[in-house]
């Protein structure tokens, strides 16, 4: 079976925003399932392989994209009426909500999708498949245990003094470059008034905004930054297992929890293989392979079948609801980014 898996990793061409591409499964399948996702091949590949083990005749082409480019491509294909992907999975769930609202996704119902809580599905056209907290990552060598910020208030206190040790050494997502970073920032702005204070503190201490989870975590690991705020926990956890210097904090005031959104682009009936793949992702087996790659983190409290009632008070699931159309609004985004940019001094 493993021999049957053909893995081709292509470097993204400058003209294309596609970051990487791989083909899994039966070489003879002339009509493979096209999976477009913002998730790294290394992280999501094992789940795809687990599915193909049970379906030896099937092949899946795995395309890895940046979230903004993935949205732009999908919206353009939708407008043209010619979707080329069978399944799209993105961490920038607000963009997926926008696609669903614009009738770019088709519906699929099955016992698996119907067992999802209301917050993790909308219109039977979009489903949350993972549970990944947004965490604070720090370098154990550079941040003494007493300084480790257990909450946003602690982080504020750390940055407040004139000439703070951490000035210029705190990093977070560049929300213009990262759809996920923008989503986290939007959710923060909704969640608490701390956001304004945090922006102000970031601005005063000269915090760094940069792109992409991998880059930020690498920066914390090599000491370029001491603390990174709002990093996707799934990536951080993988790196932390390899590098004991990395420490993770689930902020105790509240921890945002992202559920990656899957949609089946198109308007008619979806490809049955695409629906079956979705059902697999939501099945206990699919969930457990994703959990192995930290796509589903935490204890049962953070797992997919947890309801809001038994989740810890600090966990804030980002619900798949049309409320996420707000961050997609042009005027709103422009104002939001203008404020953010003013804070980070670009």
């Amino acid at each position: 079976m493993i021999r049957a898996i053909l893995l081709t990793l292509l470097l993204a061409l400058p003209a294309q925003a596609q970051e990487a591409r791989a083909r899994f499964g039966a070489p003879g399948d002339t009509d493979p399932l096209i999976l477009r996702t913002t998730t790294d091949i290394a992280v999501f590949g094992p789940t795809v392989r687990a599915y193909l083990d049970a379906h030896p005749d099937l092949a899946i082409v795995f395309e890895q994209w940046g979230s903004n480019d993935l949205y732009a491509l999908s919206a353009a294909e939708c407008a043209a009426g010619r979707p080329t992907a069978d399944v799209i999975i993105s961490s920038a769930v607000h963009q997926m909500i926008m696609l669903v609202n614009d009738r770019c996704a088709t519906s699929w119902t099955s016992p698996a999708t119907e067992s999802l809580p209301d917050d993790l599905r909308w219109r039977d056209e979009i489903w949350g498949i993972s549970r990944e907290p947004a965490v604070i990552v720090y370098n154990r060598r550079l941040v003494p245990p007493g300084d480790v910020p257990q909450s946003r208030f602690a982080l504020l206190d750390l940055l407040r003094p004139e000439g703070s040790l951490y000035a210029g050494l705190v990093a977070t997502y560049d929300i213009e470059a990262s759809g996920l970073g923008y989503l986290f920032a939007f959710m923060d702005s909704q969640e608490a008034t701390t956001f304004g204070a945090l922006m102000e503190a970031f601005a005063r201490s000269g915090a760094v905004a940069t792109c992409c989870s991998a880059e930020i975590i690498r920066g914390v690991a090599d000491g370029t930054y001491r603390i990174a705020y709002n990093v996707l926990g799934s990536y951080a956890a993988i790196q932390a297992t390899a590098n004991p210097d990395l420490g993770l904090v689930y902020p105790s005031d509240y921890t945002l929890v992202l559920s990656r959104a899957a949609i089946l682009p198109g308007r008619g009936t979806p490809r049955p293989e695409a629906g079956a793949f979705l059902d697999f992702l939501l099945s206990p087996e699919g969930q457990s392979t994703m959990a192995q790659m930290n796509l589903i983190m935490g204890s049962g409290a953070l797992s997919l079948d947890a309801t809001e009632d038994d989740a810890p008070a600090s966990a804030r699931l980002i619900p798949l609801s049309p409320t996420l159309l707000v961050p997609m609004d042009r005027a709103y985004e422009a104002r939001f980014i203008a404020r953010w940019r003013a804070a980070f001094g670009h």
Binding site: N101, R103, A331
Partner: protein, 460 residues
């Protein structure tokens, strides 16, 4: 294949009729209710979800402001939370500057008809409802209206409308089943008195013709009364028959014995002259016996008809005329005349003409046999009563006979060779059968016997 006997096919049971009726009622009611409930549900859903649109549009409109001479809008999350209450509906929105250019939101929304606030149009190929709210600005730099358009697809509305309809129909179904069950119980309990009646009738001795003593509901009372009245008539008929048979036997015994004695005498008589005298007596006796038999038959006929014949309007003048013209009295009194005395006004009563005729004939025969000529028959109206009468110039029957009228009619009549009592009895029976009476009176112009009957319109 067996065929039901014609004309006796069992008709549908009352329970089945009621069940059918209620089912039909429920079906018609159900369809009507479904239509009404759906219409109501749609209106209710429209009103409820239109309020969401109003709330969201006003929410957005309230965040529109003027900054540095330009219109800016800070989209409120709360507006979308409000719209998200319709859980599975797409949201469309647009904010337009005073010059009509799109500030933010969907650029390709269908435009509202002139002056319309709410309007229906598609959104991405799905039916949707829109609301336009205009916020007016009158500032130094900016003057005019900013349009906020908010729209939503109709899934939640449709679902609510169906839900209301469904629940109304559930209610109706439960109510309907309860009604059917109750109807069956009610019919069963309502029909129980009939069952009891039927059991009582079935359990009766065939000879028992006494009235039923069952307590019956008001609606069944007429039935019980009818049955009782029927049995009463039956009982009277039986009584009459029994009386007739016993009386006939009793009455015939004496004359037949007398005839036999006379015949024996004639057989042993050798003197021709005396034998002729005896034969003459036998002849008279047999004539008398024949008249007696006629009257007995007549009486039987009258009594029978009074219980069974249909009543019809009869003009008493016609009866009188008919009797005079038919000349029935000739047999009794050959060669004698009868006078007719009738007016110009009709004297109409409700009765059986044959019975009346029979009674009048008997009275006429009596008048010829026992009265004094001239004999007159007539019909008249006297003091509100309608009369058919016979008059002769004599004094009438003796007081003892008058008193005996109405008693068992034949006891003494035939034995004495007198049959006038029998004729009076027949007439009295007829008069009473039609709600009247027999009147015997001595007047200056002689003795008159009359059938006094109530007028036609006075009949029940």
């Amino acid at each position: 294949m067996s065929e039901a006997p014609p004309g006796r096919a069992a008709s549908l049971s009352l329970t089945a009729r009621l069940a059918l009726g209620i089912t039909a009622l429920l079906l018609v009611g159900g369809v009507t209710l479904a239509i009404a409930a759906f219409a109501y549900g749609r209106t209710a859903a429209r009103e409820a979800f239109d309020r969401l649109l109003v709330g969201a549009a006003n929410d957005i409109a309230s965040t529109v402001s003027v900054e540095n001479g330009r219109i800016v809008v800070d989209l409120p999350v709360s507006a979308f939370q409000l719209l998200a209450l319709a859980a599975d509906d797409r949201i469309a929105y647009q904010v337009r500057d005073i010059d009509g250019s799109v500030l933010t939101g969907h650029t390709d929304l269908p435009q509202p008809p002139r002056d319309a606030q709410f309007y229906d149009a598609d959104f991405r190929g799905e039916p949707a409802r829109y609301l336009r709210v205009t916020r007016r600005f009158a500032e130094r730099a900016v003057s005019g209206g900013v349009d906020v358009i908010v729209g939503q697809t109709l899934r939640a509305r449709t679902e609510l409308a169906y839900d209301i309809t469904r629940k109304a129909l559930y209610g109706l179904a439960i109510g309907g089943i309860a009604m059917l069950a109750l109807a069956v119980v009610v019919v069963r309990s309502a029909l129980r008195p009939l069952d009891r009646l039927a059991r009582q009738l079935a359990g009766r001795d065939p000879q028992d013709l006494t009235p039923l003593q069952t307590a019956a509901p008001r609606e069944v009372e007429p039935l019980v009364r009818s049955v009782n009245s029927f049995m009463g008539r039956l009982d009277r008929q039986f009584e009459t028959m029994r009386n007739l048979i016993s009386d006939t036997a009793h009455q015939l015994r004496t004359p037949v014995a007398a005839l036999r004695a006379q015949t024996d005498l004639a057989l042993s008589e050798t003197d021709p002259a005396r034998r002729d005298r005896i034969l003459d007596r036998i002849h008279k006796r047999s004539l008398s016996l024949g008249r007696l038999l006629d009257q007995m038959l007549s009486h039987a006929l009258v009594v029978h008809r009074s219980g069974s014949a249909r009543r019809e309007p009869v003009d008493l003048r016609d009866i009188a005329l008919d009797i005079v013209e038919s000349g029935d009295h000739a047999a009794v009194a050959a060669g004698r005349r009868v006078n007719l005395d009738i007016g110009t006004d009709p004297v109409t009563v409700l009765a059986d003409p044959l019975s009346l005729r029979e009674a009048a004939s008997n009275l006429l025969s009596n008048a010829f046999a026992h009265g004094t000529p001239p004999v007159t028959i007539g019909a008249s109206i006297e003091g509100g009563a309608y009369l058919l009468w016979i008059r002769d110039a004599g004094d009438g029957p003796p007081a003892a006979l008058r008193a005996a009228i109405g008693q068992r009619f034949l006891r003494s009549a035939a034995a004495s060779g007198q049959t006038s009592g029998l004729g009076l009895s027949i007439s009295k029976s007829v008069a009473e059968a039609y709600g009247g009476q027999l009147r015997l009176e001595n007047r200056p112009d002689g003795f008159r016997v009359a059938l006094v009957l109530p007028p036609e319109e006075g009949q029940p």
